[in-house]
């Protein structure tokens, strides 16, 4: 064990960098997830330009360990901490940082009084993008099927906006507002619901569009429409999030026409910029900072 420790000592001495620059810790349980890696890449790239020492800590899914690592970073006296985890679950760590006067910035983390600012995508804006896409695409008239999920707040806000957009077109009728069964991921439950609706509305053109608050119901609706042999009726489908499966469907030029991509790298970059502002002593009054999203259609789906 002694030899091991000596060995460790060499490794650590080589690994540590002189701590003259600003020290910033990024702590997440979710580094293995693709989205998180983009956030962190965006953050570290900008941090490098700013000359910071960034310590990325992954707790491999362990939320309790996030608290421990925040406490360790507070003990170490870092200049700022960035988290990518629900702040409500790491309140004990946030309190330790607040007591030590160390600012905490969230990267798509959720809002909390102890988080100086949370950097994320604007769910309201994303829903507006696809809802007006649908309304414009069907010429402001026809029956629209909505897939929403109100129990989950980030998705609930999307539904509210789509409601408002469709209500503003007198000739658009919302045929049904479906909350799909999501226990299997959302595709199968949405497909079953869509199949029932297609059966209830057999006339071609009786369903003009499907607006889904995220991609899985859109994919389920697409499967139902194709299986029912009604792919050539011109039913317009939109989703949100632009996951790989959705991009693939959009690129194929079928009924699934549009989705919205979040700028994960941009969220990381903006988080670094926000940390820089806090470190410079600038007041950051916006507790939630939105990074623009991008509409994905066949023109740019690849």
């Amino acid at each position: 064990m002694i030899r091991m420790t000596a060995c460790a000592m060499v490794t650590l001495t080589l690994g540590s960098v002189s701590a003259m620059a600003q020290d910033v810790a990024v702590i997440t349980p979710y580094l293995a997830q693709p989205g998180t890696q983009f956030y962190v890449d965006g953050f570290t790239a900008r941090a490098q330009e700013l000359g910071w020492n960034v310590n990325v800590i992954d707790t491999a899914g362990d939320v309790a360990a996030v608290i421990s690592r925040i406490e360790d970073m507070v003990t170490q006296g870092v200049d700022a901490i960035v988290i990518n985890v629900d702040p409500a679950q790491v309140g004990a760590g946030l309190q330790a940082a607040a007591d030590a006067g160390i600012p905490v910035v969230g990267m798509d983390a959720g809002s909390d009084p102890l988080v100086a600012a949370n950097i994320t995508s604007n769910g309201y804006a994303m829903a507006a993008e696809t809802a007006v896409y649908v309304a414009n695409r069907i010429g402001g008239q026809g029956n629209v099927v909505m897939f929403t999920f109100d129990p989950f707040p980030p998705v609930q806000v999307r539904g509210v906006i789509a409601d408002a957009v469709f209500a503003n077109f007198p000739d658009i009728t919302v045929l049904d507002r479906i909350t799909p069964d999501v226990s299997d991921g959302g595709i199968a439950g949405s497909r079953a619901a869509m199949e029932a609706l297609l059966a209830a509305n057999p006339a071609p053109g009786s369903i003009a569009a499907v607006w889904a608050a995220w991609d899985q119901p859109a994919l389920g609706a697409l499967q139902a429409i194709e299986a029912a042999g009604r792919a050539n009726e011109g039913i317009v489908i939109t989703g949100i999030d632009a996951n790989p499966q959705a991009r693939d469907a959009i690129a194929q030029g079928g009924n699934f026409e549009a989705s919205v991509a979040q700028d994960f790298v941009g969220i990381g970059t903006t988080a670094a910029d926000t940390v820089a502002r806090l470190l410079a002593g600038e007041p950051v009054v916006q507790r939630v900072i939105y990074v623009p999203t991008r509409l994905v259609t066949i023109a740019n789906a690849e």
């Binding site: 064990m1 091991m4 420790t5 990325v56 362990d62 629900d86 790491v90």
Partner: protein, 320 residues
């Protein structure tokens, strides 16, 4: 000389680790605040490792502790959602632990299934149950009473240091209480001595009139109730409950007991040695994080240190 090096090698290794961090992190490592912090961070692991020691004394072990920790947290969480008062929900979660422990005990002692198989099966049962009653969701936010999540944030005030209050965390106090209880049971009761006798030679213990079956049955209750308590401590610390949040405690808990066994003269599990093992793991996590060692490299190093110390101990035992 070599004998004493063997005897105290593990202790020296631990001292070396602490000294290394103390030298590398002169301003932040050996501070009261950081040390109290470490005790809080390892408190859940300490409870699991201390109660795991009870069954490891007999040469058994319990793989279901992590799943039980998750299950207990979820049980409390679901009862909070249904409006149960905190003490009742906590009591019910501990009762679930007791029932689970007795189930393990029945399977291992009365039925005679190998502990590895029996507790592997109950691991999946507990884990599945946690998913069923929570619907796979995380229970958090307003559903968790403030008095429950506040417990993990509070402590016994020790005064002010650098303008910030310093406290002995409640979680640390709970862990100390459990360790003390297990220490008394194992080291100062005939019950504990009989468990060690079973671990020494089960057949001889039986022939000497020790009721092996009943003792093994009861010992598993300690482990599961300890696991349930650790699960509640975790839930309080993260102010939420989900069906997997305690799972990691099992392997680390067993590792801590093994680390501790390298410290004892006869290589037997001793609860204070298990506590030392827990502290080594906690110190490594804390120190390496502060030294900004990559988190994946950190995991590899912790594994290597466990292997090295247990390996050295095994080799020296064989030479004896």
């Amino acid at each position: 000389m070599t004998a004493s090096l063997r005897r105290y090698g593990g202790v020296l290794g631990m001292v070396a680790i602490v000294a290394f961090f103390a030298l590398s992190l002169p301003d932040t490592f050996l501070t009261a605040r950081n040390l109290l912090n470490i005790t809080q961070q390892v408190s859940m692991l300490a409870v699991v490792a201390a109660t795991m020691t009870v069954v490891m004394v007999m040469g058994d072990f319990d793989l279901s502790v992590g799943a039980m920790a998750s299950l207990a947290g979820v049980v409390a969480g679901v009862l909070f959602v249904q409006g149960w008062p905190v003490p009742l929900a906590v009591g019910a979660a501990l009762a679930v632990g007791l029932v689970g422990g007795l189930l393990n005990g029945i399977l291992v002692s009365f039925v005679g299934i190998l502990p590895f198989v029996a507790t592997l099966a109950t691991l999946t049962i507990f884990s599945g149950t946690a998913f069923i009653i929570s619907d796979g969701r995380t229970i958090f936010g307003r559903d968790i009473p403030a008095s429950f999540s506040g417990f993990a944030r509070d402590g016994l005030a020790l005064g002010m240091v650098d303008g910030r209050s310093l406290a002995l965390p409640n979680l640390t106090l709970v862990a100390l209480g459990v360790v003390a209880l297990v220490w008394v049971v194992l080291e100062h009761t005939s019950y504990g001595r009989r468990l060690y006798a079973i671990g020494g030679n089960r057949e001889a213990a039986r022939l000497a009139g020790i009721r092996v079956v009943q003792l093994r049955f009861s010992a598993f209750a300690f482990t599961a109730v300890g696991a349930a308590m650790a699960g509640l401590m975790t839930a309080s610390r993260v102010a939420s409950a989900n069906p997997t949040q305690g799972d990691g405690l099992m392997l680390t808990g067993i590792a801590a007991v093994f680390l501790g066994m390298t410290l004892t003269r006869d290589g037997q599990p001793r609860v204070l040695a298990s506590l030392a093992g827990v502290m080594v793991l906690g110190v490594l996590d804390n120190g390496l994080t502060q030294m900004r060692v990559d988190s994946y490299l950190r995991e590899v190093m912790v594994g290597l240190i466990i292997l090295t110390s247990v390996g050295v101990s095994a080799l020296s035992q064989r030479r004896r």
